[in-house]
């Protein structure tokens, strides 16, 4: 029973991938050649690749430097800097992009795109590195110093090799997110696969062109995902230092303290103050257009209800997979769990495209209905729920069931009095993660929301697309406010939620 449910969930997760694969097979090699091997695709590939490479490099440098400063140097106010460096995650990338382009319309270039997405994504590298620095065993560094290595040599020869997994993992995460990024790049008018798919879709609905572009994009994602999975298998290296409880004596910056503080301040100003300031500016500047409180409240209500429904549905779908992954360890349950990860690595635009086409062709009565939208959210965010449900099941040892049985408790009684109460916190955390992700989801919502259903993200999008920046600002502010709690959670528990 549980197995059948988990198989069904995995099948749902793999639906978009399966659709792309089926479509490719259907049009055959000549069709693929005609649609893929053309200058436009080459141009998109070049745009996408150089943006990914550039962003990953910038994020890696910024993330590594910031993590080292906060974790290991004597820079004043390290706790505050830590929160400030994670805080940009509360601003969705497309809001950040809006904040910049509305102030500096000239940012619609490669450099502009590089700047904006780097500022949005560097925390993805910073967070795992900060956690990894905390996990490093200071005894190793002391030993290295005792062997006569300089501070720089200790960093290169002792710390960096141990941080490799965290650094590469964070970089891959940036790359995967960037491949799926649509809103931010569309706003900056920087053409990549996602924006091209969207434009194609708008022009020709579900034409083969859009689907083939999606195929190429999925291929890129899969390459990165395979790299990620291989890294995951060796992640053990990063956790050598269990005994890092002893506080590390920070490296004194001395004369560099001033410049370092200035550098961090500039980074935080660009990543946090500019978007927040810009939002504030447009809130005030747009005030003359009279804020439509009713519309804002209505949209917020719709978004919250949608996010709650998605959180409930996704968490319910995560239960069988998470349960099996712990209680029936084996190849099959690993395969089922991995399927959901694979499915969620597919960019939102591709998931949406696949679901639109499938629902039109196979189940017309479902086209443009809530269940399809919820299915898209489930496909995109299942791993977030599975990770937490799985962790909760791991704590619900079968032992408790045995003990309760020996105390005369029946199966239903045990479920009610033992299993569910023990799972509740994990289920709640998973639901919260999905909830927060849905609140700021743009791409899939844009394509799949039933007519007349407006969320904060889509309301923001239609206003800012019409260059009505003042009208867009309030929606962005509500999204940032709703995302803030998740960011606080992330800054205190760095490992959770990031790897999904």
């Amino acid at each position: 029973m549980t197995l059948a449910l988990a198989v069904a969930v995995a099948a749902l997760a793999l639906l978009p991938l399966g659709y792309i694969a089926w479509y490719t097979a259907d049009i055959g090699w000549t069709g693929v050649r005609e649609l893929v091997f053309r200058p436009r695709v080459g141009e998109l590939l070049w745009n996408t690749t150089r943006l990914v490479v550039g962003t990953v490099a910038c994020c890696a440098v910024l993330g590594l430097a910031a993590a080292w400063l906060v974790a290991r140097s004597s820079v004043p106010g390290r706790r505050v800097w830590h929160v400030l460096l994670v805080a940009p995650l509360a601003v969705p990338a497309f809001v950040n992009s809006y904040a910049w382009i509305s102030l500096l319309p000239g940012l619609d270039t490669y450099a502009g795109a590089l700047l904006v997405v780097t500022l949005s994504y560097f925390p993805f590298v910073y967070l795992p590195l900060a956690a990894a620095f905390r996990g490093l065993d200071p005894a190793l560094e002391e030993t290295a110093r005792g062997l006569g290595l300089s501070g720089w040599a200790v960093f290169l020869r002792v710390q960096l090799p141990q941080l490799r997994v965290a650094l590469l993992g964070g970089s891959l995460l940036v790359a995967l997110h960037l491949l799926a990024e649509f809103g931010a790049l569309q706003m900056l008018r920087y053409p990549t696969f996602t924006t091209a798919i969207y434009d194609q879709y708008r022009a020709t609905f579900n034409g083969p062109g859009a689907t083939m572009l999606a195929g190429v994009l999925v291929l890129l994602c899969l390459v990165l995902l395979v790299a990620e999975l291989r890294l995951r298998g060796r992640r053990g290296y990063a956790r050598t230092g269990r005994g890092a409880a002893r506080p590390v004596r920070p490296v004194a910056l001395r004369a560099f303290t001033g410049p370092v503080l200035l550098g961090l301040a500039v980074l935080v100003a660009l990543a946090l103050l500019v978007p927040l300031g810009s939002l504030g500016y447009w809130m005030v500047a747009g005030a003359d257009a009279a804020l439509d409180w009713a519309a804002l409240a209505g949209t917020t209500g719709t978004t919250l209800a949608l996010a709650a429904a998605a959180a409930a549905a996704t968490t319910a779908l995560a239960l069988p997979t998470g349960w099996l992954a712990v209680r029936a360890r084996g190849r099959l349950s690993t395969l089922l769990e991995r399927s959901t990860y694979l499915g969620s690595a597919v960019p939102g635009i591709v998931v949406a495209l696949a679901l639109v086409t499938l629902s039109v062709r196979v189940t017309p009565w479902l086209y443009q209905t809530m269940p399809v939208l919820l299915a898209a959210y489930a496909i995109l965010f299942l791993p977030r729920a599975i990770v937490t449900v799985r962790a909760a099941v791991e704590q619900t040892a079968p032992l408790y069931d045995d003990v309760a049985a020996s105390l005369g408790s029946s199966a239903g009684d045990r479920l009610r009095r033992v299993t569910l109460p023990l799972l509740a916190p994990g289920i709640g955390a998973g639901a919260a993660l999905v909830f927060l992700a849905v609140v700021t989801e743009l791409t899939a919502t844009l394509l799949l929301a039933p007519t007349g259903t407006t969320t904060l993200a889509t309301a923001f999008w239609s206003a800012s697309s019409a260059l009505d920046y003042g009208a867009a600002a309030p929606y962005a502010v509500v999204m940032v406010l709703l995302s803030a709690p998740a960011t606080v959670l992330l800054s205190s528990d760095a490992r959770r939620g990031l790897t999904t």
Binding site: Q395, A397, L399, Y400, D402, V403, A404, A405, S406, L407, G408, S409, S410, R417, V418, P421, L422
Partner: protein, 357 residues
């Protein structure tokens, strides 16, 4: 409260590797039995079969006259009335101490604070702990609460699965005493699984030694220590001095001279044999001619007593337990006298005959 009778219990897991083979065990009503064995000997499996968490391949389990497993029937764990205290206590983390203890009580009695307080006192804990969460308790307190929880529904039998192994030495002793007292006060029949021979010998009325899925000896602690069934059991339940010997005319001729002996099993034993002595049977004195001598290799000093390692002339190393005063110095020669009788076992060619510990 009732007795426990296990007959011919056999269980194998995947790949048909037998975990238990034909185990017979009788635990009299109100008594305390320890299942002693090294890890992997099947003792925890036996406990789980008795509790009803697993089904045996064959064999029966009966509580008093009531067969709960076997003969085509199996009573589910929740209807057996067997209390279970798992290794780490296994307290429900989402319930308070009171919630844990009253878990198995009928709904009406669950809010009865007096009953919880009574059970807390039974296991030697302050009733004020009732509102604490399990994680606020020490390991020993958790074990005692787990026992109180198991005793609350007045089970006919209580099973304890290595309940003290996760505690540090000082706490373990204290918890053991409290658990023993609570069990005897409640009059419950109890079965304790342990790999710690001192725990088994000091707590139990009878000890069942398990090895490789078989019950090899079931007897009271004194007999087990003095007359173990074979040399493996002998070395498992305590330190041992095992020597090659020649049995002739009622005496065992060995590296420590001619010693009186008793055969470990009934029947006549003559010729080549191995004998068992306990280290506390060895006495040391200044070298005397004609007495067997040895060189002191090293001394482990424990305060209340000490262990002296002795090298015999033929290269064997044996140990002697002495009280603290008047210890020999390493490197000196001493004479050895043996108190009491040795226990003689048949020689087995395949075994390494060197002194074992």
């Amino acid at each position: 409260m009732s007795s426990l009778t296990v007959r011919g219990l056999t269980k194998s897991f995947a790949a048909a590797i037998p975990v238990l083979t034909g185990v017979d065990l009788h635990v009299p009503e109100g008594s305390f039995t320890a299942l002693l064995g090294p890890s992997g000997c099947g003792k925890t499996t036996l406990l789980r079969l008795i509790a009803g968490f697993e089904e045996p391949d064959s064999g029966t389990v009966a509580l008093g006259e009531r067969v709960v497993t076997g003969a085509g029937r199996s009573v589910p764990a929740r209807r057996r009335g067997i209390g279970f205290v798992p290794q780490e206590g296994g307290l429900f983390p989402h319930l308070t101490v009171a919630g844990n203890i009253s878990f198995g009580l009928p709904r009406r009695q669950r809010r009865d604070g007096a009953r919880v307080a009574e059970l807390l006192r039974l296991v030697g804990l302050d009733p004020a702990l009732a509102d604490r969460s399990p994680h606020q308790l020490s390991g020993g307190q958790q074990q005692r609460v787990a026992l109180a929880r198991a005793l609350a529904p007045e089970p006919s039998l209580v099973l304890l699965d290595e309940p003290f192994s996760s505690l540090d030495a000082a706490l373990r002793e204290e918890t053991r005493v409290a658990v023993s007292a609570a069990l005897s006060a409640s009059g419950a029949t109890a079965v304790l699984v342990t790999h710690d021979q001192a725990e088994a010998l000091s707590m139990a009325d009878q000890v069942a030694v398990l090895r490789g899925g078989r019950l090899v000896q079931l007897t009271d602690p004194r007999t087990l220590y003095r007359r173990p069934g074979d040399l493996d059991v002998a070395t498992f339940v305590g330190e041992a001095v095992v020597l090659e010997a020649e049995l002739r005319g009622g005496l065992a001729l060995c590296a420590l001279g001619e010693l009186p002996y008793e055969p470990a099993a009934d029947g006549v034993l003559e010729g080549a044999a191995r004998i068992l002595l306990r280290p506390e049977q060895l006495r040391l004195s200044a070298p005397r001619p004609a007495a067997p001598t040895a060189r002191v290799s090293s001394v482990d000093y424990y305060g209340h007593d000490s262990r002296v390692w002795l090298d015999l002339p033929d290269g064997l190393r044996v140990s002697a337990r002495l009280d603290g005063a008047d210890l020999p110095v390493a490197g000196t020669d001493v004479s050895i006298t043996v108190r009491g009788t040795a226990l003689a076992f048949p020689a087995r060619a395949s075994r390494d005959a060197a002194a074992a510990l």
